[in-house]
Symmetry: C2
Subunit: 160 residues, 2 copies
Amino acid sequence: MIRVTKLADYGILLMTWLAWRKARPGGDELRRSAADLARETGLPAPTVSKLLRLLSRAELLEAQRGAQGGYQLTRDPAGITVANIIEAIEGPIALMDCLDDTAPDCDVQSLCPTRTNWDRINQAILTALSSISLEEMATPQRGWRERMSSALTPTVGETS
Amino acid sequence: MIRVTKLADYGILLMTWLAWRKARPGGDELRRSAADLARETGLPAPTVSKLLRLLSRAELLEAQRGAQGGYQLTRDPAGITVANIIEAIEGPIALMDCLDDTAPDCDVQSLCPTRTNWDRINQAILTALSSISLEEMATPQRGWRERMSSALTPTVGETS
DNA sequence: CCAATCCCGACCAAATCAGTACGGATTCCT
DNA sequence: AGGAATCCGTACTGATTTGGTCGGGATTGG
């Protein structure tokens, strides 16, 4: 069901936590060590390390080495999208592999206008993911549900 | 990378094939057996059977048993969305499990406004998937991009 | 110089996925 | 009626991916 891996989930959790902390007025220290973050989020420490490294490599976080080191956000949370985070952790966003290279199963050319249309789906999802900023993730939602349901729900729901 | 399972991919392929065949003027037989479809698409027969069964159970296809039996679309391709198909094959669409029940890892309540916001992402993706009909998948793309951008981008929220 | 911290690669266990096999039920055709 | 074709369902297995671990090196601050 259009699964995002747990790693990406955790990554978003971490980033949200960082953004949230930054937004708080009492945010004394915005640079935090991997161990701190692991403790604060309750996630296993090595996994947190790995994630932070990936996020840092994608330049979403800035790493400071040595004693008293740690990670901190490079940009403003408003300038980081969920798509950015997922992409940083899981690589380029694509629903299928059939898109980029020669797939041997896909031998029936006649029905493969499908492939080009799959690209549309990918694009749609990418758009959706890019439209949600980290800032939004870090702030408790207000009346977003109304905006949502009015525009979105129509097609999928009915079982019959 | 927001992967859809190969089964769902195949499912969409099958449905697209069916829709395409139905749309053609020379579409003599719109009911086709699982074996036929397997041969025509080049997919392994048992897998095709399984998929067709799932799609039939979701009432996207109609099954006719016995000799000379087979499957055919229940509704018009325009009334079937990609979201429908994926949902039929992979169950309810949700990026994460953390949404519906008590997750033990999620013990840090303080940072869990994230969870409610995850729902937002799910909704966005569902919208994207629901906005693409099987009919569109079966026809070579024309001016679909306009519909896309108009239908998707505004609802979820501006980045700034 | 020492300790804390980030950094990196390789490795392992577990979950999930794709596919298979077999047996049963239903309908058509002879 | 009988047999063949077809859909239906469950259970099982092999392979891929994922989540997580471990150990050692590089870099900075005290």
